[in-house]
């Protein structure tokens, strides 16, 4: 059971590390933000990001940078598309009504920054945990398994043994319960590993599937 415990410690350590990293990021975030242009978007970390500060969330941006307001090719009329007054009728010098900003497209865009942050951090977490677990299975597990196999040579049929032979002296309930839980976890893990090995044989060795 030694290697199982070691694995759990490693997993705990990894989780602590990740929590620390995430926390550090959140802690330093407002500081960094204060001098960037997107600071208004989420200056407080817990801002309601679905409808942030109205000055920004309802900020309407024109998706084209320049427009030709008239057909005469004088592109100097409104170089920047201002959506604020785009729909109001405008008159030129002769009192004739100009067409309403014909090429200007105004669209309302809002975004949810908190969701992006949370999702990206979750994704980083998942990938890190998977990578750590993969490295563990690749490097440490074979070594530990070898040692365990050397110690218990009769440990061949894991299906029939509900619990490993415990030392008779220790009748500690708590210990046996924990061992049981660990055992069950290990059992599940073994089963899963067998399944994966089977899948790998189908795909990578025999090439019967998913070519």
């Amino acid at each position: 059971m030694a290697h199982k415990r070691l694995f759990i410690y490693a997993a705990l350590l990894a989780i602590c590390y990740l929590i620390g990293v995430t926390w550090a990021e959140t802690a330093t975030q407002p500081l960094v933000h204060s001098n960037t242009s997107i600071s208004e978007a989420n200056a407080p970390a817990d801002a309601k990001a679905v409808t942030p500060a109205p000055s920004f969330a309802s900020k309407v941006i024109g998706s084209t940078t320049a427009t030709t307001a008239t057909k005469n090719g004088t592109a100097a009329a409104t170089p920047e598309c201002e959506c604020a007054g785009a729909l109001l009728p405008r008159v030129d010098g002769n009192g004739k009504e100009l067409p309403i900003c014909p090429e200007c497209k105004c669209s309302h865009v809002a975004r949810n920054t908190t969701l992006i942050k949370v999702v990206v951090i979750i994704v980083i977490w998942i990938i890190s945990i998977l990578v750590i677990y993969m490295l563990f299975l690749m490097c440490l597990d074979p070594l530990l398994n070898k040692r365990v196999k050397a110690n218990y040579q009769e440990h061949t049929n894991e299906d029939d043994e509900p619990s490993p032979p415990m030392p008779s002296g220790s009748n500690n309930q708590e210990l046996s319960a924990r061992a049981n839980v660990l055992n069950r976890v290990g059992h599940q893990q073994d089963k899963w590993k067998r399944q994966v090995r089977e899948q790998r044989r189908h795909i990578y060795d025999r090439h019967t599937m998913l070519n």
Partner: protein
């Protein structure tokens, strides 16, 4: 046969009664009983069999007469035996030996009342009288007399499920649709009956009735959430190859430069987004920073690809590939354990993000279908109605597949149609509505989760609304033809490469292969600005219209002039040098992407091919569109260009890109209806349905003329999945006798209904590898009683040995409900409840066309072949698949089967 139409029509057997009646009819026929109630079995059969000369049978009777388990059809010309058509040969039958007319009467009249009583659940009656009444009456259940424990098939929690695992299937087996649907019908009837008992049962009944909708609701929500996560994660990681947003590392470039609209070609004035050279303190432009960006791009791509490949290899090898061929096979009734499991879901989602971010030429749409199906499978286990019944589970999976496409493209209706047209096998209208609901929920959840603003739910929004003129149908059809040709070429080349990978040493280095392809992709793609960007962005660029003033996009380098003819002023555009340069770059990109996609699709990473094919088509379409536009510019007075609308520029190259994308995707996948719907949902261009339809149709025709198979069918054939395509026709003139097993001179392994011991059966199970055994009256009289599955037999014998005392290897295995009178020896093992009393049978002269049709439409697993009412052989799905392959001159041994 009409009871379970595979597609399109409403499930006919919504009420249990009609179903049961129909089923009984089938059953009676197949058991050799005549349905006419008047004649007694003995008399009629007597006449019949004397009329029949046994000449045709005799040639099949060459096999030796072997004892014990295996029996041949050795000349059973004993007429006395042949008369005895009702399976009543045990000596203890005297009590049950009532008149045949009484049997029929009972059968016809007492059917309903019996059912009522039986479903009351009190099956501890006086065994004697019950047996007396129910002898040989194939009541209500296909699985034996409900009195004998047929209740255990209900799958309901309050019924003791005495043999665990009955009704499940082994890995790589096909399911028996008929059996599973009948099981569900039984369960349903039981619940309906119980509903009157108490309020609690009423509530349970209501929950059961609504569980299908609840399940698809959950599936839709989960699919939307997962798709949202994959979207956000993939877009962030893709931009990580170029740079990072130091103030908030979780933003991609678009979000980082949120206030200012960015072009995909240059960073512009966005100071918050830092490219990698800038992070290292270099400037943004120049040779040095370019090289550094190049190297970083390659390194990130390699990192992502290696992570993806090794995660897939380590945790869930089933997560690789697109998954649609396998989903198709699974939905047609095949079991692949673990293919839709939790680990597959997790690894496929993560690996998909990584492999998309690695810049490989693959899309995330096909895998999204797989992901949604995994979600469907996982959630169906919450509801025993679906989780424990494989046929019912496939209804949920169909709906989940629709949700997958719905979230992948933001095209709910397209998703439903995709599920109907492409992946599903059994698709009653009930499933259609559930798919509709599931797709709706999934699209809604994704839409509300997507934090990117409004336009993101439509992936490649076309903002133009220009009419197309009639003449343009010619280039559209041309695009369709090209799309079909390119699609077929792609399928052939990809299949060739996959076959090479399968049979050569290359297949032994899956991770290395991924790394090599990634390296090559990154090295080749970076210098070309069109291939450097994400494929989504490139498609968006290609389908969008050039607006005046768009200076960063080289595709929009037009000189704009205004020509005044009479009163009307219209604007014409002349392509500038940027357009010509980008046409060359696009052609280069087309060739590269085509080659890379051929090598990428089928690698051991999660990879779909919708986006690459759309991209290929969009490039082709844009080039053609620019050509047509150029023609219209050069010869504006041709009669076909003088359309209805002369006030503006007629030809929109972006529309050609949309049509081209549809054409290539149609050529690759051979979809039609769902493709068009997906395309106009994808682009929002409802106005362009006719061009899309023309292109899709042309593409389908050309593709089918060149090669019949779409990419998914080709991959199914390559892997040899047991998929019986319901769209293809079987046009050969073989008979059932040619296909059935055993062949001549071989013996058929049967189990007798009341004379074999446990040891005999165990020996039979040991010596043979069949998945099921027909049960006959006796070895001499091979009249069919039913069919029993190997797995059920194993479980039941093991269970009986464990739980019933006195069962030893010399116990008689009893498949009839009659208890032998002699009490010598150990008690018999009654296995009637695992017996399928209603196997589908055909005669040996049935044309294979009919048999194949039955397998397709009824979803059979096997059918029994009879001659003159006696059992002759078995045709399994495997035999049918092999036969179809043999008839098509393919190697029949490639079929993957347990």
């Amino acid at each position: 046969m009409e009871k379970f139409p595979l597609k399109g029509s409403r499930e006919a057997a919504a009420e249990g009664n009609s179903y049961i009646t129909a089923y009984q009819t089938v059953m009676k026929k197949s058991n050799g009983h005549t349905t006419g109630g008047s004649g007694s079995g003995g008399g009629d059969a007597d006449g019949n069999y004397h009329d029949h000369p046994l000449a045709p049978l005799s040639k099949l009777n060459a096999g030796p007469h072997i004892a014990a388990a295996t029996t041949s059809l050795s000349a059973a010309t004993d007429d006395e035996d042949m008369i005895d058509i009702t399976p009543r040969s045990s000596p203890g039958d005297i009590i049950g030996g009532s008149t045949s007319s009484g049997y029929h009467k009972h059968h016809n009249n007492a059917g309903e009342s019996d059912t009522e009583r039986e479903f009351g659940g009190n099956h501890h009656h006086n065994q004697r009288t019950m047996h007396h009444q129910h002898q040989h009456v194939p009541t209500h259940s296909a699985f034996g007399d409900p009195m004998d424990g047929g209740l255990s098939f209900y799958g309901s929690s309050d019924v003791q499920d005495d043999i665990p695992g009955i009704g499940q299937y082994e890995d790589f087996h096909t399911i028996d649709w008929q059996r599973d649907i009948a099981r569900d019908r039984m369960r349903h009837r039981y619940i309906v009956k119980k509903r009157q008992d108490s309020v609690w049962d009423l509530i349970k009944g209501a929950v059961d009735a609504g569980s299908g909708w609840l399940c698809v609701l959950l599936v839709g929500i989960a699919a939307g959430c997962v798709a949202g996560m994959v979207d956000i994660g993939a877009s962030w990681m893709s931009d990580l190859k170029h740079g990072i947003c130091p103030p908030a590392f979780w933003f991609n470039r678009e979000q980082c430069c949120y206030p200012t609209k960015q072009s995909v070609f240059e960073e512009g004035n966005c100071s918050t987004w830092k490219t990698w050279p800038e992070i290292f303190g270099l400037s943004r432009d120049g040779t040095g920073p370019y090289i550094i960006s190049y190297i970083w791009y390659i390194l990130w791509a390699l990192l992502f690809a290696s992570l993806s490949a090794s995660l897939v290899r380590m945790f869930a090898p089933y997560a690789c590939g697109s998954g649609i061929p396998e989903i198709k096979t699974i939905l047609s009734g095949f079991i692949i354990r673990g293919y839709l499991g939790k680990w597959t879901l997790l690894i496929k989602s993560v690996g998909l993000m990584l492999s998309v971010s690695a810049g490989l030429t693959l899309g995330k749409e096909g895998p999204m279908v797989h992901i949604a199906s995994c979600i469907g499978n996982i959630f169906s286990h919450l509801f025993p109605k679906y989780g424990r019944n494989e046929a019912k589970k496939r209804e949920i999976l169909s709906a989940a597949a629709a949700a997958g496409v719905s979230v992948a493209f933001g095209a709910p209706i397209g998703g439903v149609l995709f599920s109907l047209e492409e992946v599903s096998y059994y698709f009653p209208l009930k499933t259609l509505w559930r798919s509709f609901f599931c797709a709706l929920i999934a699209a809604f959840v994704l839409r509300s989760l997507t934090p990117f603003g409004n336009e993101h739910s439509v992936l490649f929004f076309v903002e133009y609304n220009k009419p197309w003129i009639f003449f343009e149908l010619i280039p559209f059809v041309f695009l369709g033809i090209m799309g079909g040709a390119i699609g077929t070429f792609f399928i052939k080349a990809n299949l060739w490469w996959c076959r090479y990978r399968k049979f050569s040493k290359l297949g032994q280095y899956p991770v290395l292969e991924v790394l090599c392809v990634t390296l090559i992709t990154a090295i080749i793609c970076y210098p070309n600005p069109f291939t450097r960007m994400n494929m989504n962005e490139l498609i968006f660029l290609l389908v969008s219209k050039c607006s005046p003033g768009d200076v960063t996009n080289p595709l929009c380098d037009y000189k704009r002039m205004n020509i005044t003819t009479g009163t009307s002023v219209f604007e014409v555009t002349e392509p500038g040098p940027g357009v010509y340069r980008s046409i060359w770059l696009l052609m280069l990109a087309f060739v590269l992407k085509l080659a890379l996609t051929i090598f990428t699709f089928g690698m051991k990473v999660p990879a779909g091919l919708f986006i690459p094919s759309l991209l290929l088509g969009a490039i082709m379409g844009r080039i053609v569109g620019i050509g047509v536009e150029q023609m219209a510019y050069s010869y504006p007075n041709f009669w076909f260009f003088t359309g209805e609308c002369t006030d503006s520029n007629l030809i929109t190259p972006g529309l050609y890109a949309v049509v081209g994308a549809a054409a290539v995707l149609g050529g690759v996948t051979r979809m039609t209806v769902s493709l068009v719907v997906i395309m106009f949902e994808l682009t929002g261009g409802v106005r362009y349905i006719v061009p899309l339809m023309a292109a899709a149709m042309a593409s389908k025709w050309v593709g089918d003329a060149l090669d019949r198979q779409g990419i998914y069918d080709a991959h199914i054939a390559l892997n040899g999945y047991p998929f019986l395509d319901s769209k293809e026709e079987f046009a050969h003139t073989t008979l059932a006798a040619d296909v059935m097993q055993p062949k001549r001179n071989e013996t058929l392994n049967v189990i007798t209904q009341d004379s074999m011991t446990v040891e005999d059966v165990e020996n039979l199970l040991k010596e043979t590898e069949h998945n099921g055994y027909p049960v006959v009256v006796s070895r001499e009289n091979q009249y069919l009683v039913g069919f029993v599955l190997r797995r059920d037999l194993n479980l039941a014998i093991g269970n009986g040995k464990r739980l019933i005392e006195g069962i030893s290897s010399t116990s008689i295995v009893l498949f009839s409900s009659v208890t032998p009178t002699q009490t010598l020896g150990p008690p018999p093992l009654k296995l009637k409840k695992i017996l399928d009393m209603a196997p589908i049978t055909v005669t040996d002269q049935t044309p294979m066309e009919t048999v194949v049709d039955m397998f397709r439409k009824l979803g059979l697993r096997q059918t029994l072949v009879t001659h003159n009412g006696r059992l002759l052989g078995v045709i399994t799905k495997k035999d049918v698949l092999r036969h179809v392959k043999q008839m098509d001159n393919e190697d029949p041994n490639t079929v993957l089967f347990n």
